[in-house]
Each structure stands twice: as structure tokens, then as C-alpha cells.
Symmetry: none
Subunit: 211 residues, 4 copies
DNA sequence: CGTTAATCGAGACGGTACGTCGTGTCTTGGG
DNA sequence: CCCAAGACACGACGTACCGTCTCGATTAACG
């Protein structure tokens, strides 16, 4: 049992407050963008004192991570019967997520902040990166079960494959939508999936088959 | 000649100041990160009054764009005789650039700010995005001249190809280095180039050949 | 019997707590001054929860009144056989009391607060002013008994006399010690007593004899 | 030339701001009392940024000293031809001053704060105490010139006399009005003046003549 | 060669948000 | 009913930057 809940003394923290604060944070992000999010404003929106925010999150950054993290929990790898369909589904889900104003406002800013703050970086990894990477693992395993991909040569090679595919999918979609500022319509998704699929399904004897 | 310098009256602006300010901005970025860069601090570092900064740049964001833009001007597409070599060269240059603390601190933050500020977005595109995209155009043209790639089916198709390749290269390298936080060593670059090269050089009759 | 203690149900209040709290308040006053006294800090010093403080005193002000009030209970009018000796004795006691850091820190601040808060004003009067005024009454009665002072012309005149003498003694000693910041050594006390004694013992037919 | 005005650089401080801030401080004192005076509120009332307050005064205490100091500058010793008339005039002026809500709110609180803060104590002395003490010196000199008081035995004795008279007048009037909370009407002033005058004009051979 | 006008440094200015602290209340679990 | 612990809403604190402004002092080109 990992939940060794210390029977804490004093008034317990309000669970409602957490929910209200995170929702208020997302609302503020969507309305005002990253720069417009203010601890004081979030507190007012959530009907909560500023002190309560600071008692639970050390700063705006960690608060925003938690606020947007739930969005990434909704991503899921539905086994659709073919690698192409699975990839397209994941890319579409990710594109939909990036189309929401709250994630748009938060994502790049969080990554930028995280590049300076190790604690924040850890939090971002656990709350945002890992849930996404999990999908790649799942899709890869499903494709291997179907015989579309060769089985793992070694655990290390498998991890390297997952990493490069994950960075390519996440980075490319983010760059197109958030930097280039263009939408990811079905046609683009199809083209991008083709681009990905070609090397993945190249002849296994070709060393490049394991990218 | 576009430099139609109106021979204005009064004391001319100091050219030294521009150089000192941009250098000071890069230094502050490298030392303190995006959040640590302050107009007042940059002014002090450059030995210049705050007024002088604001007379030349409307705000911190535009100043930082110009300060890091010069780094992107150094990127160049050297025709090395093969598409693989050209791609690897460009990726390596881009990875080297992203390894510098000043660009790390600035890039994602600028993209995040730009997603809310249209004027900044334009400036970012001109100073940072276009110089990079130019390389893709050049490399593609060289490869076509060498016969490694099929000629353009149409100008629109060519643009779409350039866009998707550009987003993939830039996005993936940025994601690996700035978000995943891992380095882009020669081995990774080689693997990533293979991943890119496979669909590009697939049989032309294959519709996927034009990604 | 005024102590009609209603035999209330439930756990009785700890008597130790009162003592500990008042002592902690005086200690905090002496160490940190008026501004440094904090309900939270007093609670910690007294080893008591903040709730316990507020259950017994409505606010910091009333707590401090009670904390310093006991100091004023120590003042006493010892009949030393002459009006001069009695006055000098009282002034010396009062000067000694004002030399303590806790009363220095509290007295003026309490008076200042009381000038805005009627409830506090009442409490200050009962706990601090009246015990002092009592001494003047006692000394005056003793002097009359000894024939040093004329008997009361009327109760109203007596009250007016006591008031003016009390304000003069208390105000002057406080002003010298707390505002001018100088000590009240025996020599100064003697001079001040002379100043007081001269009009008091002036010929009774002189209307000024009754100041 | 004591005004060695350093030819300061940069934008000079607004003189209007000083006036507006001090007036706003007095208004806030009169309306809300000591506890109600807030730096933010004063800034708003004065139409000024909080920064501007803090640039000129290190804290609320020093600000209030300067704000009420001007009230004490209005006190003056008008030579009315007799020591009694002069004393009654001064006492009346001081009583009138203490009847104003802004001085009532400020005075005791300032004295209380000053008892802990040496810098504030100095400021209070220069801005409030000294202007008052000056009056005692002037009145004494005038009375000596008229022959109502004996000339100085020595400078030290003169200072001691001034000190004790000053503490007696200031302390007693303050105590009656601010602590006892009663008014100083002409009758009380007359009685108090008599109390003071008797020892002052006692026979010079009487050692008590020099109180 | 003086006038004129834009530049420069310095720093004060009105704002806004910050993160902390103190107050007095409320809510737990446990005497 | 009391108590310790501690969360809570509220509001002031003093600081840091922002981007603007007002100074006196330079520093060219123009007349």
C-alpha cells in the first residue's frame, strides 16, 4: 500500500478549492493567454485567497502545469487495426488538443520556463511528456503484435525508437500549429502519417528500418 | 538600394549602442534566461540609458528577436554533393545553435509570446523562420538538380513539401533538445536523417514520394 | 459574591493557559515592541493554539491591556508620613514601571489605539488609569488627615483636583521618559515634586490653593 | 552657503507630489485614524504611485511625522505682556492642535513607534519636539526681560528648567486630552496655569523658585 | 559660426503583479 | 465544552519591472 496517508492534524485542505483553482487557471489561460494569467486573478476567479494558491503551488508555472496536465490525460491510443489508422488517430487527438486556446497559451511558455527550472522540468515531464510517450509505446506494441513492425531488437533500441518517433510527432505537430501557425487538417495529417510510416515499414533488413 | 537613409537633422543615433545592446541582451539571456532579462538590466549592461532602448525597440520581445536573429543568419546550406550530407549538415548546424544558452532561453519563449502578439509573430517569422525555411528550399533545389528528387509537380505542391519538411526538421530537433532535453549527437542526427530520407527518396510513382 | 460562576458543562478552560499567554505577551512586547507582537507568535511562545487566545480575548489590543495591567497593580500608596515623601514614592514607582521595556512598548500604543476604539478605551481605563488614579485619591486623603491639605470643599472640587494632579503626574513622567527619552532620577523627581507641592500647599485662602 | 545644491541629474522630483502626499496623509489620518492610514490609500488620494511614496519616505512612520510636523510649526509664542497670559496662550494653542483629529490620530502612535526606532525618534524630535520647546525658551526669556522670573543662574540650570516645564505642559495637556479624553476648556487651562505659575513665581530665595 | 533638432545619460513617474505576513474565523480530530 | 493544529478569506505590505516622461548636456547638419 503506497498511500501511507499520514493522519494529518488540523483542518484538511479543501478539495473543492483545487478543482476550482485549476479550472480558473484554464479559463484565464484561454481568455488572457500566458502573460495574462495572474495569481491574484486566478484566486478571484476561483473564489479563493491568494494564500491558498501559494500554499499548494510554489508558483504560477507549477500551477499551470497541473492545470493543463488533465488535458493530456484524455489522450488515448485506440487500437484501430492498422498502424496508419493508429498514428492518424493520435496525431488528430494531439492536434485537437493544441487547437484549444488554453493549451496553446500554456505549452510553449511552460517548455520555455522549464528549460531554466529543473523542478519545473521534472513536473512537466511527469505530467505532460510521459502521458504522451506512453501512447507511442502502446501503438508500437500493437503494431508489433499485428506483425506490422519487427519485434524489439533490444530494450535500448526500442527506447531509442520510441524517443525519436515521439519527438518527431510531438515536435512536428507543435511546430506546425504553434510556430508556423497553420492548422493540421486531415489532409496534412495523412501526408505527415505517410512521411512517418514509410521509414517505419521499410524492409526490415534495411538497417534504416529501425529508425 | 533600399537604404534610403533620410539625412535627418540632429544628433545621429550611435551605431555602437545597437551592437552593445544586442550583445548585452544575448549575455543576459544566456546568464539569466528569458525571465531574467530586464530592460533596465540590459541598459546597464550595455552602458546605455533605458530611453535609448525604447527609442529603437518597442518592447523586450522585439529586442530579443533581433538579438537572437543574428544567430540564425549564420545557418547556411552548403552543397555537399548528396541530399543526406546536406540534411545532416543543416540539422547539425541547427542543433549547435540550439545548444547555445541564449537561443535556448529565447526561442520557445519568443514563440509563446508570438502566439498572442501578431506584430511579434511577423517579426519572428521574418527574422527566424524564413532564414531557416530558405535552407530547405535551397537543399531541395540542389537535390532536384542532382536528380535525387523529382522536379516540382506544381508550385503549390512544392510549397507544401517544403512546409512539412521544415516543420518536421525544426520541430523535431527543437523538441528533442528543448523539451525532451537530450542532445543531438551525430548518431541521432544520422538516424533522424534516415527517417527523413526514406520517404523523400521513395519511388516517385509512389504517391508518398511527394510528402 | 460577584463570582457567580455558572457551572458550565464540558472541559473547563485551562488556568495555566491564561498565565502563560499573558507572560508570553509581555515577553514579546519587551523583545519586539508593540509592532512585533503577533497573535501567532504569542500563541507559539505560550505553547497554545491561536484559537485559545481568541476564545479569551477579542483581539490583540485587549490582550495587551490585560498583559500589562498586572504591572500597574503593583503600584501602591505607602503612607510615609508626609505629602512630599508620598508623592516622591509614587513618582518613583511609576518611573520604575515605565523603565520596563514591556510597558514602554505597550503604553503609548495602547493609548493611541484606545483613542479610536471605545471598547478598548473602557478596558484601558479600568485596568490602567483607575489603579493609578486611586493612588492620588489615597495620598490626598492621607495628607488631609495629616492636615497638610485642606479638606474637600465639595466632592466635585475634589474630583477636579484629583484629575488635574493625576494628569500632571502621569503625563509629565510619561512625557519625560517616553517622549523626551530621559530618565527620571531622584534629583529630577525631587524637582518635579517641589513643582507639584508648591501650589498644593499654597495658602488655602488663595483660590489657587485648590488647583 | 549651506545650500550646496548638487546639480542633480535626471528628472527632478515633483514638488507638487510632496504637497499632495502630505495633505492626503493628513486627510487619511483625520478620516481613518492611525491604523486606517495605508500607503496604498495615501497614494491613491494623492494621485500618485506607491513607488513615489517609498522613494521619498522609508515608511509610514516618517511620512506621518512630516505630515503632522507642519501643524506644529503654526504654534507661536506671542508676547502678551505677562507670563500668565503667555502660558495660557501657549496651552490653548497646544490644546487646539490636539483637538484636531489628524494630530490626535498621529501623535501617540508616533511616540510609541519612536520608542523602538531611533531614526524615527530623531525625526520626531526635530519636527515636533523642538518646535514646541522653542516656545518655552521664548516665553521664559520674555518673562525674565519683564522681571517676572529670575535670570538664569547658569545655562545648565536654565536647560533643566526648560525641560521640566516643557515636559509638564506637553505631558499634562496630552494626557488630559488623549488619555483621559477630556477637553481643555478655558477654566481648566486657567487652573493648570495657576498650578504652573505658583512654583515659578515663588520667592526667588526659595530654592523651589527654580524648578 | 551660431542655430536647430534629435540624440544621449540619468532618473522620477503612474501602474501592475508579485510573494509574504498578520488578522480573525472555521474545521478537523481528540480529550 | 475545550484544546492543538492548521487551512481559510481578506487586505496591507514593500519590491521589481514596465514603458513613459522630463531634465540638462551633447553632437551633428543646416543656414
Amino acid at each position: 500500500m503506497t498511500e501511507a496517508v499520514a493522519p494529518r492534524k488540523g483542518r484538511p485542505r479543501s478539495a473543492d478549492a483545487d478543482v476550482a483553482i485549476l479550472a480558473a487557471t484554464r479559463a484565464a489561460l484561454a481568455e488572457l493567454g500566458w502573460g495574462g494569467v495572474t495569481m491574484g486573478d486566478v484566486a478571484v476567479r476561483a473564489g479563493v485567497a491568494k494564500t491558498t494558491l501559494y500554499r499548494r503551488w510554489p508558483s504560477k508555472n507549477e500551477l499551470v502545469v497541473d492545470a493543463v496536465a488533465v488535458l493530456f490525460d484524455e489522450l488515448e491510443m485506440a487500437d484501430l487495426g492498422s498502424l496508419r489508422a493508429d498514428i492518424e488517430s493520435v496525431v488528430r487527438q494531439f492536434a485537437d488538443l493544441l487547437a484549444r486556446p488554453e493549451s496553446q497559451a500554456a505549452l510553449l511558455a511552460l517548455f520555455a520556463e522549464a528549460s531554466r527550472d529543473p523542478a519545473l522540468r521534472r513536473r512537466v515531464r511527469e505530467a505532460i511528456i510521459h502521458p504522451q510517450k506512453r501512447l507511442v509505446h502502446q501503438g508500437r506494441a500493437a503494431a508489433q503484435a499485428r506483425g506490422e513492425l519487427a519485434p524489439d531488437a533490444s530494450p535500448e533500441a526500442a527506447d531509442a525508437d520510441v524517443d525519436i518517433i515521439f519527438d518527431t510527432i510531438a515536435g512536428t505537430v507543435e511546430h506546425r500549429m504553434l510556430v508556423s501557425g497553420e492548422c493540421a487538417d486531415p489532409e496534412w495529417i495523412s501526408r505527415f502519417t505517410t512521411l512517418l510510416l514509410t521509414p517505419l515499414t521499410a524492409l526490415p533488413q534495411n538497417p534504416a528500418g529501425s529508425v
